[in-house]
Amino acid sequence: MKEYLSPVARNLPPSGIRKFFDLVSTMKNVISLGVGEPDFVTPWTVRESGIFSLEQGKTMYTSNSGLIELRNELSYHIAHDMGIEYAPEDEILITVGASEAVDLAMRALLSHGDAVLIPDPAYVSYAPCATLAGAEVNYVPTHAEDGFRLRVADLEKAYTPNSKLLVLSYPNNPTGAIMTHEDYLPIARFVAEHDLIVLSDEIYSDLTYEGTHTAFASLPGMRDRTLHISGFSKSYAMTGWRIGYAAGNTDFIQAMTRIHQYTMLCAPITAQFAALEALRSAGKAMAEMVATYDRRRRLMVHGFQKMGLQCFEPLGAFYVFPNISATGLNSEEFAEQLLQEEKVAVVPGTAFGPSGEGHIRCSYAYSTEQLQEALKRMERFVHNRI
C-alpha cells in the first residue's frame, strides 16, 4: 500500500536513533546510556497537583493558548530568570511538549523555497519538521575542538539567499555544549544582517552547570526575531506529561496558535495544572536534580578521560559526547561492538548529523552505580583497542 503514501511521508527517513533502539530492544541485561530523558520521577508536589485537578473534575478543554494562570506564571518566570518580557495574553502559547512548538513554528514560518540553518550535530526532530513544512535543510557544522559552539564562519558557509530560519538549541543535545552571552553576540549580528528568524529551543536551559543560561531572545534586537521554545520535560522530569510552550512576538505566536487550534486544540489540562505547580513550588526539587546531574557529569568526564578518550567538558544538558576515533572505529561500529561485547548501549554521534562522526552520545540520566558499571565496561572495551 506504499503507493498511497504522500511522497513527503514516503521519503521521510527513520530516525537514526530508531534503528539503534530496535537493536538494543532485542538484547537482555543491557546497561543503556541511550536515554534522552531524566531518570527522576516528577516531583511529588507536581504529581499531586495533577491528581488534585482530576479529583476536582478539571477534565475539559482549556483555551487554545492554554490556561491563563499558567501563561501568567510563565511570563513572570521568563522575565525573572532570563530578562525577556512576554505578554501572557498573546505572546505565549502552551503546547504539547516543546516538540509541538518546534513543529508549529516551522509550519507557521516556512514554505517551499525557504531554507533552514541547523547546527550539526543536533536533536533529531528539527530537520524532519523543516522537511514537512516544505523547506530545505542546510547543516552548519560545529566542532569538538571548539566545544561544539556555533560560529559565524560556519554559518556564513552554510548560508544561502533562501535561508530564512536559524535553529539554535543550547544547552545542546547531543553534545552538552552551551553558548554564552559572548558566544551569542556575533550570531545575533549575523542574524540581524541577514534578516533571519531564530527558533531557539532552550528545553535544557535549567540544566546549565557553569554560569547562568543566556536566552537568545534576551540579546539586543533579538526578541522579536526569536521564537523562544522550552518546556517542562527536562527541568522538572515531566517528559510523559507532554507540556511545553513557545513565546515570541504576537504575529508569530498568533499564527502558531491558529495551526494549534485546528490540529491540537489545546495541551492536556492535567499537564497544564501540573506545570503550574512545577513553576510555583518545584524549584527546590529541580535544584536538587540539577546538583545530582552535575556530580554525574563530572564522574563521566573523568571516566572517559581516564580511559584515554578525548572528552570536552559539557556544561549543559545531561549528555557527554566523547571522541572515540582513537579506537580506530567509527561511531556506528563503536556503538554496535560495544553493545555486542559489553552490553552497554550508547548512541552513535552520526544519529544526530554528519558532524557527530567520531563521537558517541552517553546520557548520564542514570544512577551513579549504573554509570560506574557502564564506565568500567567501556574502559575494558576501549583498552583492548587503543
Binding site: I17, V30, R295
Partner: protein, 164 residues
C-alpha cells in the same frame, strides 16, 4: 555557616555513605585531601554518624516497635534532662525526644514481641521515679523512615532503552 561546597558534599555522603573520598572528589571537584579532612572533622563533631538503616521487618525475624508518650514531673534545677538521660541508657529505647504539646517525652522502643515491649513498659519504665504516666502506641507498619521509603516505590514504568 556551612559553605555550599560542604553542604553538597554532605548531601552526597548522606545519599550513599559507602563512596570513597576519591569517588566523592570526582563528583564534587573538591580535592581528596580536603574531603578526608572534612569527613574526619564531621565524624568527630558527630555531624556524621555512620550507621546503616536496617529494615528489620524484612529479615523475617520477630520484631515490633512502639511509640510511647510519657508525662514526666520535671525536677527542680534539671527540668527534663535528668530523666531523659536516664531513659536513654536503656538499650530497648532507640530514641528519646522532648516534645511540645500534651505530653513531655516521646520514646521509640523496639523488641521482639508486643509482650516483651509491654513488659518493659510495665516493669522498667512506668515505675521510674518522676514518671507520671505512659501511653504505648504499637507501630503496625513502617512505610517510610529517615527519608527512605521502606516499602519501595511502585514499579516505575520502564523508560525506553534508547530515546532522542
Amino acid at each position: 555557616m556551612f559553605s555550599n561546597e560542604d553542604r553538597n558534599l554532605l548531601e552526597l555522603i548522606s545519599q550513599d555513605s559507602r563512596q570513597t573520598p576519591e569517588q566523592l572528589a570526582i563528583q564534587t571537584g573538591l580535592s581528596i585531601g580536603y574531603i578526608e579532612n572534612r569527613i574526619q572533622q564531621w565524624v568527630e563533631d558527630r555531624i556524621i554518624i555512620y550507621r546503616p538503616l536496617v529494615n528489620w521487618e524484612r529479615t523475617g525475624d520477630q520484631y515490633v516497635s512502639a511509640l510511647i508518650e510519657v508525662r514526666v514531673i520535671p525536677q527542680r534545677g534539671f527540668g527534663f534532662d535528668r530523666i531523659a538521660k536516664r531513659l536513654q541508657k536503656f538499650p530497648e529505647i532507640k530514641a528519646v525526644y522532648l516534645m511540645s504539646g500534651g505530653f513531655d517525652l516521646t520514646l521509640m522502643i523496639e523488641g521482639k514481641t508486643m509482650q516483651e515491649v509491654a513488659l518493659f513498659v510495665a516493669e522498667k519504665l512506668a515505675p521510674l521515679e518522676h514518671i507520671q504516666s505512659t501511653a504505648t502506641h504499637f507501630v503496625l507498619r513502617r512505610y517510610k523512615q529517615d527519608g527512605v521509603e521502606l516499602m519501595g516505590e511502585e514499579e516505575a514504568l520502564a523508560r525506553l532503552v534508547v530515546s532522542p
